[in-house]
């Protein structure tokens, strides 16, 4: 079991308060960071091998370095606390149990990217996390951590998955419909309100104070060769003790399932979704895979948001796909044609199959439609939907065919 970094205070009473945060070493990284040049902070983060923990796994330091050097207007730091990926609930824990870690990380990150204003976009359904976080922001203002050249605006979403996609989030933050924006320009060049903007996940930014306190080398050493640190795995489904597990990025999926008490239900593993619903599914024999960004990519799936969903062998894959397909059909923002049209169409086909009205050629139609649409859309939502469409059918085709009698 690796050392708990991000979740070290989760068991501590009143861990969400400034008092406890300070008692456990909180805001000491900030004091250090204030004595360092922005470039030095950025460099430290680069060397730490921190990669975005929201889904895309993009190297954080590199992202920060995309802010134009000669920009004279404001630069914004936006924290993605929308946490909409099915099977993911780690940011909720962080916001509820260690909100000051995010605030401290934000102030340091803002120094690195020379931002004076940060936004925290919190998923609408996250009422308690929002309360805790806003209370922490108030404490931080009172204590003078905020309001001294850096301010935080807390914004609540209205419960749309697409508002977790960074440019959809920016549109929503700007008061518009949460439609992802066509790229280029990328947010680091032209983001919120037309200004350079860095969007980072809650957990990503929570890592920053630790990197400053204990050094890039230490952080990099916690993880795999290409991804530093630990990360918070949300483990759900058929495991004995579902929950959030902080582990090294170098852990294997098999080990992780064991940490969560092993497979429950029938006790016999059928499949695992390793990185939130958008990650292609892994069959039971594929779980000796390292859970870092590259390990999962090499296994044909993705680390995504580290939402691990475990299926025992009583779970019907076609039914699971129908549920997932319904989610994507419901959540597609509807902006671009392939995604808008085919998520609904594929859901209808999946539904029909589960109802026993499937036709043999439906499976090939789903696969063909999914493959044709992949890579043609404005945002990665559709590619995320394609992950399950294709992998569920390709890996468990027999189960689907058994339902398609016609």
């Amino acid at each position: 079991m690796s050392e708990k970094i991000l979740s070290r205070n989760f068991g501590v009473k009143d861990s969400h308060t400034l008092k406890v945060y300070r008692e456990t070493g909180g805001y000491t990284a900030l004091a250090q960071a204030l004595g360092r040049e922005p470039a030095a902070i950025l460099d430290e983060v680069k060397k730490s091998n921190l990669r975005g923990l929201g889904g895309a796994g993009f190297p954080t330091g590199m992202k920060w370095s995309f802010i134009p050097k000669n920009h004279s207007g404001p630069v914004y730091l936006v924290i993605n606390a929308d946490e909409g990926e099915p099977g993911t609930f780690k940011d909720r824990y962080l916001l509820e149990r260690d909100p000051h870690a995010l605030i401290e990380g934000m102030i340091i990150a803002a120094r690195a990217i020379k931002s004076a204003l940060g936004f925290v976009y919190i998923r609408g359904e996250y009422v308690e996390p929002w309360r805790r976080f806003t209370a922490a922001v108030r404490e931080a203002y009172d204590a003078g951590y905020l309001g001294q050249g850096f301010d935080i605006v807390v914004h609540r979403g209205a419960g749309a998955y697409i508002c977790g996609e960074e440019t959809g989030l920016i549109s929503s933050l700007e008061g518009k419909k949460g439609w992802p924006k066509v790229k280029p320009p990328f947010p680091a060049i032209k983001g919120a309100f037309g200004q350079p903007t860095i969007v980072n996940n809650v957990e990503t930014i929570c890592c920053v104070p630790h990197i400053i306190n204990r050094g890039a080398a230490w952080f990099a050493g916690l993880g795999s060769k290409t991804q530093g640190g630990t990360r918070m795995y949300s483990v759900s489904g058929r495991v004995t003790t579902p929950g959030v597990y902080e582990e090294s990025c170098a852990i294997t999926l098999r080990e992780l399932i064991e940490r969560a008490g092993g497979v429950s239900g029938s006790g016999r593993l059928k499949a695992v979704v390793p990185g939130g619903s958008s990650a292609p599914i892994l069959a039971a024999h594929e779980i000796d895979v390292v859970m870092d960004v590259d390990g999962l990519r090499n296994a044909g799936t993705m680390a995504g948001s580290a939402g691990v969903i475990v299926f025992d062998d009583t779970v019907s894959i076609p039914e699971a796909l129908m549920v997932v397909a319904r989610f994507y059909a419901h959540e597609s923002c509807g902006q671009c044609t392939p995604c808008r049209e085919s998520t609904g169409w594929i859901y209808k086909m999946c539904h029909r199959i589960v109802e026993g009205k499937g036709r043999k050629d439906d499976l090939d139609t789903i696969l063909d439609v999914a493959k044709r649409g992949a890579g043609t859309t404005i945002c990665a939502f559709y590619d995320g939907a394609v992950g399950p469409y294709i992998s569920y059918i390709e890996k468990f085709r027999g189960e689907f065919e058994a339902l398609c009698q016609r």
């Binding site: 749309a160 697409i162 419909k177 066509v182 280029p184 059909a329 419901h330 959540e331 597609s332 923002c333 509807g334 902006q335 671009c336 044609t337 392939p338 808008r340 049209e341 085919s342 998520t343 609904g344 169409w345 209808k348 086909m349 029909r352 036709r359 139609t365 044709r372 649409g373 890579g375 043609t376 859309t377 404005i378």
Partner: protein, 539 residues
């Protein structure tokens, strides 16, 4: 200026030009729905994919600026397959109701399906149902099932009129175009959304179910609705006259002119052509004598005019010309006035109420040719003519087009003036209370029935052309005036509008050097006028 290669052809384009426009210059059409050069980039339809060398996947052309050395392919197998897929996605939920859709024949779903689709349909499930035949405003009807959600209409209302009535509501395949609560599509440019809607989702309530588009003929023209002179196409129905209850002008569409109206026109101009086929049209020359109306031949009518002019001394003769007349008509009138020594000539009549104006296209002056009349020096005082008439000092009065009762003047003043003149001669396409009182009323052809030019407020001379034959015996005003001139013994050689234009160019310095050829399709500036900034979106 970046130089790039598209389908093996090299081209240099201004920096910032996107690949759709760069390809267009080479005559290569990259199919697209959501892109419109007058609107922001949406990147939604995903149809304009092209292959760019060193780029792993097909890329949307609309959002890709040309860069130096870029090598673009628009016809790779991968691009063609992508287009086919995108076409299928666009059509799976479409109702395929072309037989009852007004857009059929000019629908980009039909066109692109034939060019880039041609797949075997695979959609066997129930389609998504959405509202149909929803009036959005006085001019526009929505069929949400036909909509491909390109958002052009939304962007038009957001960016061009900045009135923001429309939005896309709901998500996924339940997304639909609609009005924001409390809003109606009543902005003064609402008809443009029908033009830019690439499919049959937005149709024109004025045109719906009138006639199939393939029976229409198109003629380049100029809107006569105000001093802007928006370039238009007039669509007429000559081939199925029984389809629209005798209405010959089926619709008017804006015609692109970078310097005048770009892609747009206002609703008032678009729907203002009704007078052409109105029951008020004058179709025969007539004489009104003590309440008795007699039809005349043209020969008889001209002789009667010449007789009246011959009986009245020039200083007791006056002409009220009209800023709705073409330059050619006005110059013929000017020639007549000079030949007869008539010095009381004016054209400017106060409107019943001040015209609406905005900072986009619409001008307060609702006349298409005030500038032309001014440049020809026809700007005499019309109030004075009226007063002189009341005082019996104007005995013969020629009124062109105006209904003097529908002006800023008091009706009683107009009545006493007209009652006082011995001979009131009216020339115009439509009858009115003024023509009813005229001793001689002569039918002129409407602007869509003839050649001519207008001079816009900024001094741009623009041509319009005949789309229709004249109704009844109507002939162009320049011809009526020419016949009068000839009958008074003046040498008249002009037998076409163009001849009068040549005479104008020779006679009035502002028009010097202009010809129908140099005016072309986009107009030419009169001497001493500089084009003003092209019409931009409001604000």
């Amino acid at each position: 200026m970046p130089k790039l290669t598209i389908d093996g052809k090299e081209i240099e384009v201004p920096a910032g030009t996107n690949l759709i426009e760069a390809a267009r210059r080479l005559g290569i059409e990259i199919p697209h729905y959501c892109y419109h050069p007058g609107l922001s980039i949406a990147g939604q339809c995903r149809l304009c994919m092209v292959d760019i060398e060193k780029t792993p996947r097909p890329t949307i052309a609309c959002n890709t600026p040309a860069t130096d050395g870029m090598i673009v392919h628009t016809q790779t197998d991968r691009v063609k397959e992508t287009r086919r897929s995108i076409m299928e996605f666009h059509l799976i939920n479409h109702p395929l109701d072309c037989p009852v859709c007004d857009q059929a024949g000019e629908c980009w779903l039909q066109i692109y399906y034939m060019q880039h689709g041609l797949y075997d349909p695979r959609m066997k499930d129930e389609k998504v149902h959405k509202p149909k035949a929803v009036p959005l405003g006085p001019h526009v009807m929505l069929d949400a099932e036909r909509c491909i959600l390109c958002s052009r209409c939304v962007r038009f209302c957001d960016e061009v009129t900045q009135t923001g009535e429309l939005g896309i509501f709901n998500r996924g395949d339940h997304s639909e175009i609609g009005l924001f609560p409390g809003a109606d599509l009543t902005n003064k440019y609402s008809g443009n959304v029908v033009d830019i809607c690439p499919v049959g989702a937005l149709t024109d309530r004025d045109f719906r179910f009138q006639v199939r588009v393939w029976y229409l003929d198109t003629t380049k023209s100029i809107c006569p609705g105000c001093a802007r002179g928006c370039n238009i196409d007039v669509h007429v129905n000559r081939r199925r006259p029984h389809h629209a209850e005798g209405r010959r002008v089926a619709r008017v569409k804006p015609r692109f002119n970078e310097d005048v109206n770009r892609w747009w026109m206002c609703d008032e101009g678009r729907y203002g052509y009704g007078f052409v086929d109105a029951p008020t049209r004058l179709v025969l020359p007539v004489r009104n004598d003590a309440g008795e109306t007699r039809e005349l031949s043209w020969g008889g009518a001209i002789a009667a005019v010449v007789d009246a002019l011959g009986r009245t001394p020039a200083d007791q003769t006056a002409i009220i010309a009209s800023p709705k007349l073409a330059n050619e008509d006005l110059f013929a009138i000017k020639t007549l006035a000079e030949a007869r020594g008539i010095r009381q000539v004016g054209f400017r009549v106060p409107p019943p109420e001040p015209g609406y104006e905005d900072d986009f296209l619409i001008r307060a002056d609702k006349n298409p040719n005030t500038r032309g009349a001014e440049l020809m020096g026809l700007d005499g005082k019309v109030d004075k003519i009226l007063n002189e008439a009341t005082a019996h000092r104007v005995r013969s009065l020629l009124v062109f087009e105006h209904d003097l009762f529908d002006t800023g003047w008091r009706e009683s003043d107009v009545r006493s003036a007209l009652e006082a003149v011995d001979t009131l001669i009216f020339v115009g396409p439509n009858g009115s209370r003024t023509s009813d009182r005229a001793h001689l009323a002569l039918p002129a052809s409407a602007w869509v029935e003839r050649d001519g030019t207008f001079t816009s407020f900024e001094g741009r001379v623009q041509r319009f052309r005949p789309a229709l034959g004249a109704l009844g015996e109507a002939i162009p005003t320049w011809e009526i005036v020419g016949r009068i001139l000839a009958a008074t013994g003046a040498p008249v050689t002009a037998t076409r509008a163009e001849h009068w234009f040549r005479a104008l160019a020779a006679g009035v310095p502002a028009f010097a050097g202009l010809t129908y050829q140099s005016i072309g399709d986009t107009g030419a500036m009169t001497a001493g006028t500089a084009p003003q900034a092209p019409a931009e979106a409001k604000a």
